[in-house]
Subunit: 438 residues, 4 copies
Amino acid sequence: MNAADFAIRTLGPATLPSPLLRGDPEASEHVMVEEGDAVLVDDSLREVRALLAAGRELPCLERAGPRHKLFFRPERVTLGVVTCGGLCPGLNNVLRSLVMTAVHHYGVRRILGFRYGYRGLVDPDGHVELTPQVVAEIHAQGGSILASSRGRQDTGQMLDGLQRLGVDVLFVIGGDGSMHGALDLATEIARRGLAIGVVGIPKTIDNDLCFMDQTFGFQTAMAKAVEAIDCAHREAQGAPNGIGLVKLMGRHSGFIACQATVASGRPNFTLVPEQPFRLEGAGGFLAALQRRLASRGSACVVVAEGAGQDLLSGNGNGTERDASGNVRLKDIGTYLAEKIHAHFAAQDIEINLKYIDPSYIIRSVPANAADAVFCSALGMHAVHAGLCGKTEMLVGVWHRHLVHVPIRQVIASRNVVDLGSTLWRSVLGATGQPPRMT
Amino acid sequence: MNAADFAIRTLGPATLPSPLLRGDPEASEHVMVEEGDAVLVDDSLREVRALLAAGRELPCLERAGPRHKLFFRPERVTLGVVTCGGLCPGLNNVLRSLVMTAVHHYGVRRILGFRYGYRGLVDPDGHVELTPQVVAEIHAQGGSILASSRGRQDTGQMLDGLQRLGVDVLFVIGGDGSMHGALDLATEIARRGLAIGVVGIPKTIDNDLCFMDQTFGFQTAMAKAVEAIDCAHREAQGAPNGIGLVKLMGRHSGFIACQATVASGRPNFTLVPEQPFRLEGAGGFLAALQRRLASRGSACVVVAEGAGQDLLSGNGNGTERDASGNVRLKDIGTYLAEKIHAHFAAQDIEINLKYIDPSYIIRSVPANAADAVFCSALGMHAVHAGLCGKTEMLVGVWHRHLVHVPIRQVIASRNVVDLGSTLWRSVLGATGQPPRMT
Amino acid sequence: MNAADFAIRTLGPATLPSPLLRGDPEASEHVMVEEGDAVLVDDSLREVRALLAAGRELPCLERAGPRHKLFFRPERVTLGVVTCGGLCPGLNNVLRSLVMTAVHHYGVRRILGFRYGYRGLVDPDGHVELTPQVVAEIHAQGGSILASSRGRQDTGQMLDGLQRLGVDVLFVIGGDGSMHGALDLATEIARRGLAIGVVGIPKTIDNDLCFMDQTFGFQTAMAKAVEAIDCAHREAQGAPNGIGLVKLMGRHSGFIACQATVASGRPNFTLVPEQPFRLEGAGGFLAALQRRLASRGSACVVVAEGAGQDLLSGNGNGTERDASGNVRLKDIGTYLAEKIHAHFAAQDIEINLKYIDPSYIIRSVPANAADAVFCSALGMHAVHAGLCGKTEMLVGVWHRHLVHVPIRQVIASRNVVDLGSTLWRSVLGATGQPPRMT
Amino acid sequence: MNAADFAIRTLGPATLPSPLLRGDPEASEHVMVEEGDAVLVDDSLREVRALLAAGRELPCLERAGPRHKLFFRPERVTLGVVTCGGLCPGLNNVLRSLVMTAVHHYGVRRILGFRYGYRGLVDPDGHVELTPQVVAEIHAQGGSILASSRGRQDTGQMLDGLQRLGVDVLFVIGGDGSMHGALDLATEIARRGLAIGVVGIPKTIDNDLCFMDQTFGFQTAMAKAVEAIDCAHREAQGAPNGIGLVKLMGRHSGFIACQATVASGRPNFTLVPEQPFRLEGAGGFLAALQRRLASRGSACVVVAEGAGQDLLSGNGNGTERDASGNVRLKDIGTYLAEKIHAHFAAQDIEINLKYIDPSYIIRSVPANAADAVFCSALGMHAVHAGLCGKTEMLVGVWHRHLVHVPIRQVIASRNVVDLGSTLWRSVLGATGQPPRMT
């Protein structure tokens, strides 16, 4: 990790005075971010001393916020915004904040929203005009008023679309894959020698992006997950040898499963991608589950969708195929349910398993209040960054500071649950499950 | 339907003064139900006139409520209570009300709660003592503190258990199947010449029992179903050709699906057991869905779990078997999802289908406020009935009156959505779906 | 109560075929209400027998619903709608249902919404056009998109406004006072010999209107009241001699206070307008409260705003005046709080009183799912009635049937909590308060 | 701010091996905090460079978490815990986590909960035994199972109580005032030469304590505040010249008002203690409000309870006194309401003001999911600290790290809304109110 890795690219020198200084110069002055304002990537004393001792620079993240000088003249700029990938609570809040900030703070007059993700850039009819009137009430509803889509579009065609419409800054609200697309776009923009900014706002319901204390929508989704777990708990307690099994989102990172476990205090087992486990054997999950049932008469089990993928890999036995002829893998939730049924059936032990998969219920809801505040800040700071000419970067929040992070850094690695962290220890404490089931 | 069909059996003459008359005789007097108080089963003028013209008696339901005279001496009576079948919002509210009424209004000193449904009657250790302290806080939580189970137990053994414990009245909170069991128990009690009352409190999340304006917990479950539908709506709108498909409870009756459809105003198709439909063909569901997508770009579909069972009957092709070797039938939700995928794949039309099955999430939650009020009344009136010696009956609510109904009448038929009713017409209006897709 | 009192006026013979019969004649036929369809006002066997014995007619309410024949030609009709009085959960649901039914079921082309209650009728700019697009999303938000106002307008001027705009049917969503206004309007219409219908949809958050099993929005408001009570309960338990005091809506009828008491199971005292009480003396409220504190260490008290008005009448001692110089009467909530403080201070007993007045919080929220279903039915049936030429009536729900009731009957009396009812007995049981504190 | 100010006192050297190392040494090792682990108080590059350039030490906060060595032997230790001051969402979660961690992680066998705040220490009967069974379900309910109280007790007597019961560590969950008490207690302990630890867990619903990114319960309270604001917004829109006025908690710091404003996006004016304002004059609040009404027809106003205290100071005109004879000051909410009424009445402008004071409704509710996770971590880390012999300190969270902070530092200043911060700028942006109304 070098200090240079965190430098933020700009489209050129910012020389235009910010309109934020009008009106209340004193207050505005106070809030302005100065060039060079930055916060340490690692704020532990030990690390700071080690770097200083080694004569190395302290890696820092540029602080986000309004600047004295802009690169774009707000009243002439055209902003574009697109939401990519799966839905996430707060998309509409970010859109609303972005539009409100651009129009009311800066006097921007033209904002285009692209429909259905990156498709909207290549589709001549794929955009709508966004105004304060259009976005005034949208934060009360889940989903995205722009809709979204998955998958890539041709980078050149996307850029053609942006040029055709005269877009000066594109705001991309999306996850890992979308940020790769945004990076390609920025590269192509540079190749064509254009001054179009690409500013990301990281979106992942799994909280698996780096340089984000927590991603927007995560809290809302986690709270809905707790509701599902509470139901599983009641179902488990409601029948002889009751087992409540809940599958939760979390492809590579088990944050939702872990935090929801700690919040509800109900689960007895929480299985996440970060901690492999075995099903069979004295040290395996099924034996542990059986011990729990024997001693307490019920069990609540949470499994992240990405957990135990190694168990599933050999599981497609070629008999089930989808419409395209691909072998369809069972998912870990139904797989676990089957294995549990089989395990106890083989011993002639009656169980009552209730399987709950809240699926999209946790992500299509409106953002809760805390996420709403967070989304508001993200949208606002993305506009600050975009009008200053920042590009190839996204707005992150690191140690409670809003910062700029190069897209390249964010997609270079993934945020996962650290098995040595307070969170995982809290999970082990809350569940009482064996630290290792292998 | 004869007037005699609604006569309520009693264990014998009620001769003991009710303690409710103590304390505030005037107020209590006012609230007492007199023998003969009854309400018409059919209150339409047309029907009343027809019966009168034919010289027939008007079928009536005995009014529930406290009586001047009791059959049992409260301070010596032992009450038993059991919750049977699947969980339902409000079970704990009914239990709490039953205990509070018996103890605080009547001075009952011994109430036994049987654990895990009818099993608790045959298991010597299958009961717990219920007191106001035990039940004071339980209404805030979902599930049943007694837990439940499905299935029958031997009637003779159940009665042996009741006799061993000296139970004078057994309150059965359960559905169709459990009421059959209660009826068998009452028959065996009569055969043995015992004076043990059997009082039912009807429980069905599907609202499919007769002589109940609405069953307890239904409103709560329906409200949770609306949340799932709202998510499906946002998911459908959030992707190109998005389809949100929600499966809801409703084995034989589509009340949850219908009311949740009207409440949310979102679904474009609502499929229920009462209205058969075809998938294929110009008049079928898939063609209608395709037309909807073509014109509006998204669709929200609700299906009750009991809908389209005829479509599924030939669907078990022998390849998938469960642990016991039984052919496993696909459920209508995943079946529909597959058929929709296949239909559009065959035409090379991209769709984005999001399948949501809230399953137990809608039934394990605490009762909402309205259900809480209703459950309180049910528990209270069950105690009134039991102490008066009423038996083989349950507490219903008919045209807003709390009434007694013979168990035999309630299980004789099933409450289903009338396709000529306001409710179904509201569904057709809200969805805009073709009245018939056959 | 005479049978003739319930006859419904019409503007004239309905001779035009209903478009509902198009499309699916068979299903539509099934759902049509026939002339003469009616339900008994009193469905108790005792009352029916008494009337028959006396040779009197059975009072009936005309059943609401679609008819074979209409008075107005839907595609040429102009409908008007106005929301009057205080906000109530579900106003937007009723508006949405009304518009959707008129347009989608009947093909109505012009619907005017009057802004700010009856003012919108006299203000030339006081109306907006309502279309399905305008109302599509409004049911998710509280309040009324038309806004409202209190107070009367000149009847002649209101009618001038309706005539100027060519309104054929005016739908009035409002309470007691607004229905008086609607009646005056209907009278003036008749005097001028016009064929303009006036159809009411009763609105009162207090549930104090007759011939309504329950008014829309009541359940939602009651559920919010429960939340406030639960907080008061926790506050009471959270401090030495803690008293949680909650004031709830209920000017003349204590339904919200009573049902919320039963639903929450928390209050130890519930004071309503229907049951007078004294503060002082051994039998009074303060002594009872003191006994409760002495024995249990905390108390939760609910008071309806209309309770104890006799105690307040002599209370304005002339020292406090508002800006206009009027003596300002204390409200019962703050009055009780002061009296409680003074009572215990006089005895040097420490108490910790927490006063909670949720006020408008319980009425400005969106309708819950059950109220949403109910509002949908009300709006739909109001349209059915209006297009048939029914006038001077409103849509009620009586013993679970949607019915027509003459406005005159509804405003003739007020629905109050019957002190001999199950509800009040449930309150006494839940609180354990003395039946009389006088 | 000197580095030495943040040193944490201990009762003595920690020499006993932690039982956390048993079971899974490898994982446990990983999670252990080493002596000297600390995070920078200020992580801005500018500040770090300035300190280094000046040759000064970098102020740091000791990292919280489990240590290799303990001061107390867990199986012999007696822990005490007390909740002080007003209720706050999450109190029960902290209690539960504290008990669960002490018992399940460390094997502690005796935990005493003191009832009614510090009173429980001086009252011989003022404590209860806390076990995992007692606390298992308490996180689902608001309030504190220990109850609380305000005010001080004699320090010597409190310590006598602790000694009598053999308490080794006292956990104080409380705010500013309670922390002063805790400090006095720690001082007296030192004076008597005892080895009793005093560990704080900061509690303030107003988020006004330093070295806490955010205090527990704040998010939950803020979310409830948003609900009240949404109602005020609907009320304002629902009447001619409607004004919805909401008073929110916030004695010295307007965090709840500010964040709830940004989250809801509804208020047009947000008044906080940090930003003084005038009522009268062209630049004052009333004129601004009038302009808003004139242009938009409605207004939503939020006022923190501590705002505008200077306006109120001269307002007690000696006529109103409470039971103790003290002049009773009007609160800012009702004061504003009166001033608004008077302002518009003087100009004969009709307004419809709806005043909403959610008061305790926002603080007596259960913690939401995010607060539940946070409370769990606080309780857990307090136990870690207490068993290591840390004293006169509390568990804070700073830049997302759980840390130890000397109580003295925390009570030395107050956390207030920085008028140059993103939060306040977001409020100005969301409301559109004049930056200064003076």
